[in-house]
């Protein structure tokens, strides 16, 4: 299909008003509409997979005229990395829409909510499937606006303030990305990232270093690693659960994707080996710090959503550490084959498996909050008997995040560490960070087990639920609705699939060449 990627863009864009007007009649239909759009887009993206696997360049490209005056065309492309992450994003949009049916029921302005969700999917997927820098930025910012309004309007305590914080932080990061993109255009005369990569090799090395720093700093804000993590715990914990799932699942990972694709893929080959090595070491320190900081705070958090939010910071730390294992000789222009770099393959896989697991974890937490109307884990307990389906799903997600086999995150973390041991042979600097990251993995399992045991296991700490429920209609079960169950089930299946059979994604990822 020749217009597959254009359709991925156009279908949700044109559907925004339709979703709105459908939502006016019935919000439930609008939610299913959004889910269907995501499903259609998944199908469209899958049509590009054969081309990616079989063509010699391992890329699928479509190009349309856009702003010819500044040499900017509407270039859409898909390669192994981008199509994998885009598929996962769409899967999360799909489950978020299904989950919202019950979760958002009874809230105000639902037509607007679903229209915004649809708009969010345009920007979110657009980021991954474009190779034009300006279009990339366009989508990058386009996902901010709906996210802002969703957090603000339908969030919890003081949500507009948290949404404001989220917007200002990420927008401030984004304007530096814009400067970086502008400088790239000036240095190379093109806004296509692959053409720019070649042209940057001959550009002034000072400018190239500044571009690298500006882009990476901007993306790091989105990733919410230390020291620019401050927006994340508030925004993620006060957002409505489907939005938290999307934020923690893919929106922050878009930062990691952008660092891999633009900072490391486009600018890094031109910075020279000394600067490049230092840069990677700095990334690994940021990664280790974030992993420890996030894990330690998650260990003591009592708010169900803040706990998960801090665990996201920790996992962005893993991903940042994984990115820092990028082969340093790429800074001298060597092409990196992902088939031979286990660390980067593992990192991309971790983006995927973390998105699925964290999405599920936030959704189950949302389910728990929705049914019990509590968010303090000290006041929960014994929920496993009352909501078994949620408990099982949540435990699977938690074990995956904790890095236990056979779930998705185990295999990706395993690959990152194997990659790290490979790199240690070359660069002994990584001995200490790798050792620390291994400790962080233990912490990660610890806080996830604490979460599970506090929420689902043991005796109910609070008799109030019992009393009120018995007083009403003797209702022993708090189980979530069928739509929520369906959304959990989809993610559980995906997590186990990726955990025991990661080959589909690994095959796609390993076709990619960077640099």
């Amino acid at each position: 299909m020749t217009f597959a990627l254009l359709a991925v863009f156009a279908i949700p864009t044109l559907s925004i008003p339709l979703v709105y007007f459908t939502g006016k009649k019935s919000p439930k239909v609008a939610a299913i509409f959004v889910a269907l759009i995501a499903l259609v887009n998944i199908a469209l993206l899958l049509t590009t997979v054969p081309t990616i696997l079989n063509s010699s360049t391992h890329q699928y490209t479509e190009s349309y005229t856009w702003i010819s005056v500044i040499k900017t065309s509407f270039t859409l492309f898909a390669d192994g990395i981008s199509v994998s992450i885009a598929l996962v994003s769409l899967a999360l949009i799909l489950v978020a829409a299904l989950f919202s049916i019950t979760y958002m029921a009874g809230k105000k302005h639902l037509p607007v909510y679903y229209a915004l969700l649809c708009m969010l999917s345009v920007g979110l997927v657009g980021v991954f499937i474009t190779s034009n820098l300006l279009l990339f930025y366009f989508c990058w910012e386009l996902m901010l606006v709906p996210a802002y309004f969703i957090i603000g309007e339908w969030g919890y305590r003081d949500s507009y303030k948290q949404a404001f914080k989220f917007f200002i932080y990420t927008h401030a990061g984004a304007v530096f990305v814009l400067l970086g993109i502008g400088a790239t255009y000036i240095a190379t005369g093109t806004t296509d990232m692959f053409q720019a990569q070649a042209a940057l090799m001959t550009a002034s090395s000072t400018l190239v270093k500044w571009i690298l720093i500006a882009l990476t700093a901007g993306f790091a804000v989105k990733m919410a690693v230390i020291p620019v993590h401050m927006w994340l715990p508030d925004a993620h914990s006060e957002a409505p659960a489907p939005m938290s799932a999307l934020l923690s699942g893919v929106i922050i990972s878009a930062g990691a994707y952008a660092i891999l694709r633009l900072s490391l893929g486009m600018v890094f080959p031109a910075v020279g080996i000394t600067f490049g090595t230092n840069f990677l070491h700095a990334l690994s320190i940021v990664g280790v710090l974030s992993a420890f900081f996030g894990s330690l705070i998650a260990l003591v958090s009592t708010d169900i959503k803040r706990l998960i939010a801090y665990s996201s910071i920790a996992h962005m730390g893993y991903i940042m550490f994984g990115l820092s294992l990028f082969p340093a000789n790429a800074a001298a222009g060597t092409v990196v084959l992902l088939a031979s770099s286990l660390a980067i393959t593992g990192t991309v896989l971790h983006i995927i498996s973390h998105a699925l697991s964290k999405g599920l974890l936030f959704l189950t937490a949302g389910g728990v909050m929705h049914q019990t109307e509590k968010r303090d884990i000290r006041k929960m307990g014994g929920l496993a008997s009352k909501m078994p389906f949620t408990a099982v799903s949540s435990t699977i997600a938690a074990l995956s995040i904790g890095g236990a086999p056979p779930f998705a995150c185990f295999i990706s973390e395993f690959l990152i560490f194997v990659g790290a041991f490979q790199i240690i042979h070359v660069d002994s600097f990584y001995i200490i960070p790798t050792a620390l990251m291994l400790i962080a993995t233990v912490l990660s399992l610890a806080y996830m087990l604490r979460f599970t045991s506090n929420v689902f296991l043991g005796q109910p700490k609070d008799e109030e639920i019992e009393v009120s429920k018995e007083g009403k209609e003797e209702k022993k079960t708090l189980e979530v609705s069928n739509y929520m169950k369906l959304s959990f089930a989809i993610l559980v299946v995906l997590i186990i699939l990726v955990g025991i059979y990661p080959t589909f994604f690994l095959n796609l990822i390993q076709t990619v060449r960077i640099g």
Partner: protein
């Protein structure tokens, strides 16, 4: 081929329409369909004006790769002192956007003034006359013609501000008039020096003569006077203080008109005078202008941050916008010029949109940020328009402001003014902060009283024409950029070593 008549026709159409407006309004005053008839009158006027401008554009572009065409009233360029016109890609572009935006603002004015108090025929006549003068100014080919038309336009602007005739607006208008008179005195003095130095006032001839000038002392003095004069009129910091008062005191349609058209006119003059006449190769003014740009962005945005009155807040955004335009001018690159022309169109549309929306909000008695609490639920459509304007100001896609800011900052990087680009993006974040505070107030806060507000539907038509055009220009900027692009090659004939996009 462009003839002098093509140039004069649009100006004359609007002048005659302005003069006819008063008798026409007298005729239809008693009619039951007053609003409809008024509207049809203006639509007719702008249809004809639009046709004459289209005729000018088509005639101009009928020749392959048209250059800069100088036209004298006496038929030749040779006479030094005759009033002359100049047609090139910039002036065509300006003429098109002036007529288009003016038409939308006038439709809004018909609805806004009509609903509040008795429509005054003089008010509309002055708006049309000011539009005509602006057209004259952008099509002018020598400094004198420019001066005459531009001063007439600013005089018209003063009457538009004064419309409410309360103490505040009289005070603000007086401030404006004093500043404008000082400014025009400066400009006249500077121009007479230029005339003394070169013996001509024609743009191209002056530009040419100045490059071969042996002694630049007098030129520096002339430049200072001209630059200071136009800096006052464009409200560049530190000469900006008249603008917030004037735009706050002016009724909403006037504020929309002034910010969208008269402001753009002043940027046009800066571009014309700085890039076509007092070339940077003649006199290196880029650093001075860059510093002023930085100051203007910082001051405009900082003051906007502390405003509590919504209309004043928008007025300070106008000041900040001046700064972003100056960034583009001081870069002296073709990218900057394109960015500038694009940015001030978007800036004009956005400020007009913001003033129109604020005008409706004000007319229901909501003035301060506190009054706006929870207004997003009470007046959803007007507030949506204001949000769209805010997002465009902040440079958030998919609105036009984003492409404008990208072009402007990229141009600054190209001109080795990276520090200016960094200041630009930082102040842009500041801008986002106060605009999102506005959004927070409208949507996040609870309103103090639950009284519903009845939104008038028809007044939303011009507002959503502008809002829609912001989205369209953001998604498909090529529509305008292709129209602007010939400018680059024309400017290259004046500045030979201009970096090309």
């Amino acid at each position: 081929m462009v003839e002098i008549i093509d140039v004069i026709l649009p100006i004359f159409t609007l002048v005659i329409a302005a003069l006819l407006t008063i008798p026409v309004f007298r005729l239809i005053r008693k009619s039951n369909y007053k609003t409809t008839l008024t509207l049809s009158w203006f639509i007719a006027v702008f249809a004809i004006a639009g046709a004459t401008v289209a005729n000018l554009a088509l005639n101009y572009y009928s020749t392959p790769s048209p250059g800069i065409v100088s036209l004298g009233l006496s038929g030749t360029n040779s006479s030094i002192f005759s009033s002359a016109f100049l047609v090139d890609a910039i002036s065509i572009y300006m003429a098109i956007i002036i007529v288009a935006i003016s038409a939308v603002v006038l439709i809004y004015t018909v609805f806004a003034v009509g609903s509040n108090d008795r429509p005054s025929e003089r008010y509309f006549a002055i708006m049309l006359m000011t539009t005509a003068c602006l057209l004259g100014a952008v099509l002018a080919g020598d400094l004198l013609t420019l001066f005459i038309f531009w001063e007439a336009a600013t005089a018209g602007a003063a009457f538009l501000m004064l419309y409410k005739k309360n103490a505040f607006s009289i005070n603000a208008t007086l401030k404006y008039l004093i500043m404008i008179i000082i400014a025009s005195a400066f400009v006249v003095l500077g121009m007479s020096l230029v005339y003394g130095l070169t013996g001509t006032l024609n743009y191209l001839a002056v530009g040419q003569d100045l490059t071969t000038l042996s002694n630049s002392h007098l030129l520096i003095i002339a430049f200072i006077f001209i630059a200071a004069g136009y800096a006052i009129e464009a409200a560049i910091v530190p000469f900006h203080f008249w603008l917030p008062d004037a735009y706050t005191a002016a009724p909403a349609p006037s504020a929309a008109f002034l910010s969208a058209l008269v402001d753009q006119g002043s940027y046009y003059i800066l571009i014309r005078v700085l890039l076509y006449i007092l070339l940077p190769s003649t006199l290196n003014w880029t650093i001075m202008l860059a510093v002023m740009a930085a100051l203007t962005m910082i001051v405009g945005n900082l003051f906007a941050l502390i405003q509590n009155d919504v209309k004043r807040l928008v007025a300070y955004i106008c000041v900040a916008d001046v700064g972003y335009n100056l960034v583009a001018i001081s870069s002296v690159t073709s990218l900057g010029l394109i960015g500038n022309l694009y940015f001030f169109l978007i800036g004009g549309i956005t400020t007009a949109l913001a003033f129109m929306a604020v005008g409706i909000i004000n007319s229901h008695g909501f003035k301060s940020l506190d009054d706006l609490s929870g207004l997003g639920k009470k007046m959803p459509l007007v507030c949506l328009a204001l949000v769209m304007a805010g997002l465009s100001f902040a440079g958030v896609p998919p609105f036009g402001g984003f492409i404008g800011k990208y072009l402007v900052f990229t141009a600054a990087i190209e001109a080795n003014l990276s520090w200016l680009a960094v200041i630009g993006v930082l102040t842009s974040v500041l801008q986002t902060a106060y605009l999102f505070r506005l959004i927070y107030v409208m949507y996040g806060k609870k309103s103090k009283d639950g009284t519903a507000v009845k939104e008038s539907k028809r007044i939303l038509i011009p507002i959503f024409i502008l809002a829609g055009s912001l989205i369209i220009l953001g998604l498909f900027p090529s529509i305008v950029l292709n129209l602007i692009h010939p400018v680059v090659h024309q400017l290259q004939s004046i500045i030979p070593n201009l970096p090309i996009v």
